[in-house]
Amino acid sequence: MHDRETADTIDDAASEWAARLDRGLSAAEQQTLEAWLAGDTRRVGALARARALWHHAGQAVAREPAPPVMAEERAPLLSRRRLLGGGATALAAALAGVLVVPHFLGDTETLESGIGEVRRITLEDGSAVTLGPGTTLRHSYDGTRRLVELVAGDAFFEIAHDPRRPFIVLAGWLTLRTLESAFGVRAVQGMPLSVIVSNGQVAIGAKAGGAVRTLDANMRLDAPAAADSARVTRLEPDALQRALAWREGMLAFEGDTLASVAAQFDRYGTARIVIADPSLAREPITGTFAANDPRGFARAIAASLDARVTIDGNAIRLSRKAPAK
């Protein structure tokens, strides 16, 4: 960050672009703007902020004295909730019935992320998927359905509404089906298959057929091996945030064992955390950590558990200190 452009310089240019956008851009200006935006993410943010301020300024003057804006903003939210409530029956109807396992036909495309990589990709229908590290996903759309298979890894889906084409995700032995929702699916070797819904509704059934269960927002399904072992739990908002923190490059834990936490870090890079002592491996870990900094994590943990950290090439070794007599 040597000759880093200052926030003020960016704001200067952003305000000029906001004024030009307000009167409409020529094709050439549009190109120049896109090139400018591509140069630094802070420019994107500065322009978004400029346009939001421009938008909001009308309100500031149009009403004096200023009424409580939030009260007004609440209204559409409430009516939207009511709408969702009333629409639940229709949604349930659309999701009802046996989930027939669709087959991949025609064009399929594979999306992949590397070790330690978190990628967010917008699909052709406007839905977005965030891939966790080491994730492979196949997708195939046609006029009747949007079909995705999570081959391995972590994926968070934000589904664009399309009442004519349900969004179907195949993962492990599960089939998921939804019209509009946001949810995460984990299919990682050595961890239980799981689904977490943060918004909307997802209908879940076994590929083999049988009962279908609807998962609402803030609910989690853990499905280790077979239908009878599946378990549904309701998540508190902060537990939901923790479970999905990987999207922001963070790993968050609450009382997880050091062994399972170390396994998660291993997915983010070449460094491996080795725990020398079984009693250390069972220590509960709570906290939020940068996923790509296993060394920093190990040092923090060593300090709090009074353990020793030894770094040997790609191995980060945690061990008990010699017992104090």
Binding site: T6, S15, A19, R42, A46, A50, H55, V69, A303, S304
Partner: protein
Amino acid sequence: MTAPPDDRSHWLATRILPHEPALRRWLRGLSALDDSDVDDLVQETYAVLATRASVVDIQDPRAYAFQVARSLFLQGVRRAKIVSINAVADLTEIEVPDDSPSPFDHAAGREDLRQLAAAIEAMPPQTRRAFQLRRIEGLSQREVAAATQLSESTVEKHIGRGIRILMAQFGRGGKQVPRASTSGGRIPDAPEPTETNQKNATPDARPRDSRHYR
């Protein structure tokens, strides 16, 4: 990459802007952050919010904006290589302030409108006139030009200047004059802790139960 669409501007204006003053205060209170760091983080936060494919799943925009800013702050600290043992221990404890119930939101909503109104009042007369005709009376820039007998490019400059004043005034407690460049004045590098100095560096980290990390 394209400019954020208008509905996102509306969302940012109504859901995020009201909380920007509080977000800035919170960021300023974090260790080692000067005003230019805060400005950078705020821009980056808006970038994340503006380019997110959808915001329908964000139920609590205020909390989400704080989370994004917090995560960007942590990334910045990592980039600056000051993840000393102390920093890690402390940073993992950063809590995003609790979402406040509606009375506070009402106050926040008024604070942002008051700040905007004050910023518009503070504009030079011609800029304010162009700004009001365009934004409040709804004339197009061309119509504003005709009404004020200014050229269209001059009107555009006034609009741009008006927006610039809002950007400088809003959320920063009235700081209007752009500062000189502060490049190079970022968080200084600190040596990575070694095994031997760890113990001395964190006298308070050891007795702390790991449960208290959050």
